[in-house]
């Protein structure tokens, strides 16, 4: 981890498939050591972005830099490894043979026994891959990704199709492994996974980043309440200066105040201004997620 380059630099990435724009000018910078959740609904462009990030797909526009170099170079040097949804395994090899074989493709790897252990599949090393459960196969993919001891680990919805217990085991294995300094990016559409395992959440919708912040910041987007009122000519700056106000948005004659103290704001609006039609709504992470990741209609 002597490099001072960002682990990931995506700049204006764009990818279209026919009339569909899957990724739309997406830019993102990830520093070494960050654990980033790439959170968005199905079809948000997460997988396409990851494919371009890894050099599996060519962007129509924009650039990708991994650890200061090209994705191909990072892959060839074992600096980046990935657990993908679509990467297949050979059914006729055993778990151990799959790891051994893959290990020979690199200049240097961690020992087979060690990565099996870390992925939690040392006990099924002799099992033929075709007889492994989906969760076990996913952990095998994880073991393969651990082999080169990568600086950057990319996981695309790694727990899709796993049951609750399988998901928990998988994340525990990942967390146990998270050695100091390894950068991790994982795509997910599970809020709780992003919340539990990431330092930073990048929300994507329709191929764009719609919110990006620490887990706490993203949660704050959702925490508290929103006070909405009809208030022509609202003084946005004055409202924003009130204690406990996180954000103020003016839409025509309406004003929306996001706050941790909705009572005080409502009292202020009703007693000190000409506001009427005051509404107070609470928001949770789910709402924030939905609000940020679903298409606005009108407005």
């Amino acid at each position: 981890m002597t490099s001072t380059h960002p682990a990931v630099e995506l700049d204006g990435l764009t990818k279209t498939f026919g009339a569909v724009t899957a990724v739309d000018g997406l830019s993102l910078r990830v520093q070494p050591g960050e654990v980033v959740a790439f959170l968005g609904p199905n079809g948000a462009g997460k997988t396409t972005t990851i494919d371009m990030l890894l050099g599996l797909a060519r962007p129509d526009a924009g650039t990708v830099r991994l650890l200061g170099g090209t994705p191909d170079d990072a892959v060839a040097r074992g600096r980046v490894a990935a657990v993908l949804q679509t990467g297949g395994l050979l059914k006729d090899l055993t778990v151990g043979e799959t790891v051994q074989m893959t290990g020979h493709f690199y200049r240097h790897t961690r020992p087979t026994a060690e990565v099996l252990e870390r992925a939690g599949i040392a006990d099924i090393a002799d099992r033929v891959v075709g007889r492994c459960s989906g969760g076990q196969q996913q952990r095998l993919r994880f073991a393969l990704a651990l082999l080169p001891d990568p600086d950057l680990m990319v996981l695309d919805e790694p727990t899709t199709g796993m049951d609750v217990e399988g998901r928990r085991d998988f994340w525990q294995a990942l967390r146990r492994d998270a050695r100091a300094g390894r950068t991790v990016i994982f795509a997910t559409h599970y809020l709780d996974e992003a919340d539990a395992y990431a330092d930073r959440i990048v929300l994507v919708r329709q191929g764009r980043v719609v919110a990006d912040g620490t887990t706490a910041e993203i949660k704050n987007l959702a925490a508290g309440r929103t006070v909405r009122a009809t208030l022509p000519g609202a003084d946005q700056a004055a409202l924003a200066a009130l204690p406990g106000v996180d954000a103020v948005e003016v839409r025509g004659d309406s004003v929306l105040v996001r706050t941790g103290d909705s009572d005080a704001i409502a009292r202020h609006l009703l007693t000190r201004t000409t506001a009427r039609d005051v509404e107070i709504t609470s928001r949770n992470l789910e709402d924030a997620f939905l609000a940020l990741t679903t298409e606005h209609t009108g407005a």
């Binding site: 599996l56 690199y106 080169p148």
Partner: protein, 271 residues
């Protein structure tokens, strides 16, 4: 006297286990992987049945009954049958090993490989060598069955016929790769198998071409097994190496080799 400049303090001693980030030698090609690949093909019962057991069995039921009969030059007919079946065994072996890329593409393994330093050419080289190793094994097993059943020919016939059958099967390793990159199917041999049998018929591997109608004999000369069959039996029959046979092998090697290379490039190109 010279003064050495101070060495930078920040060497890599802080992380003695810093991974070696150099590129792998030979694009990731490794003999150890060949060993695993060979183990895989030898574990596959279907492959073993069609490349090692069936051709040997064919010899016992079609070759042995002709014991005592001789060719024009006095050599045993059983050797003629044995060599023909060795060519058949080798071509099925190399085609199925080359065609394994179809399975690996269908399963998504080739995509998984793109996330490793393994270069596509090193992957294809591994498949080719595995195919040729299985082809060699197929020839050796057929010859062992023949020898055990009493086929006796001079040493140079064993050697040259065996080499021709084996090296000629390179055409079919390329054919297997070609088909493997053409169709991503989990069991590509299910439809290649019958095609190979027809080609083997036209190559004179099951019955001598002379017994076929004249038109078919002429057509046969342009099919991909003809050249390999002729060249492999030449040391036995003493008929000499015909230019037609050599041209046939060269032509089909080129067709399948170039075809496989083009499809391979299409497969590894990015979308």
């Amino acid at each position: 006297m010279t003064t050495l400049p101070a060495t930078p303090a920040a060497t890599r001693t802080d992380r003695p286990d810093e991974p070696d980030r150099r590129l792998p030698a030979l694009g990731g090609f490794a003999p150890a992987v060949l060993r695993i690949e060979l183990r895989r093909v030898l574990r596959n019962r279907r492959t073993l049945a069609f490349t090692l057991i069936m051709p040997g069995f064919f010899f016992l039921i079609f070759g042995l009954p002709q014991g005592g009969q001789t060719l024009d030059n006095g050599r045993p007919v059983t050797a003629y049958v044995m060599i023909s079946l060795a060519v058949y065994a080798a071509m099925v072996a190399t085609t199925s090993a080359g065609g394994a890329v179809a399975t690996e593409r269908a399963l998504g393994w080739s995509r998984q490989l793109r996330l490793t330093p393994l270069r596509p050419t090193a992957y294809v080289a591994t498949k080719l060598i595995t195919a040729m190793a299985l082809g060699l094994l197929a020839v050796v097993v057929e010859f062992l069955v023949g020898a055990a059943a009493g086929v006796r020919v001079p040493a140079y016939v064993w050697l040259l016929a065996g080499l021709a059958a084996w090296l000629g099967s390179l055409v079919f390793a390329a054919f297997g790769l070609f088909v493997g990159y053409l169709v991503p199917a989990e069991n590509v041999m299910q439809f290649i198998g019958p095609i190979l049998a027809v080609l083997a018929m036209f190559g004179g591997l099951f019955v001598p071409l002379e017994v076929l109608p004249d038109v078919l004999q002429q057509v046969a000369k342009f099919t991909p097994v003809y050249g390999v069959g002729e060249l492999s039996r030449a040391p036995l029959t003493g008929a000499g190496v015909s230019m037609a046979a050599v041209a046939n092998v060269a032509f089909w090697a080129l067709v399948f080799g170039v075809g496989a290379a083009r499809l391979f490039r299409r497969d590894t190109a990015r979308v």
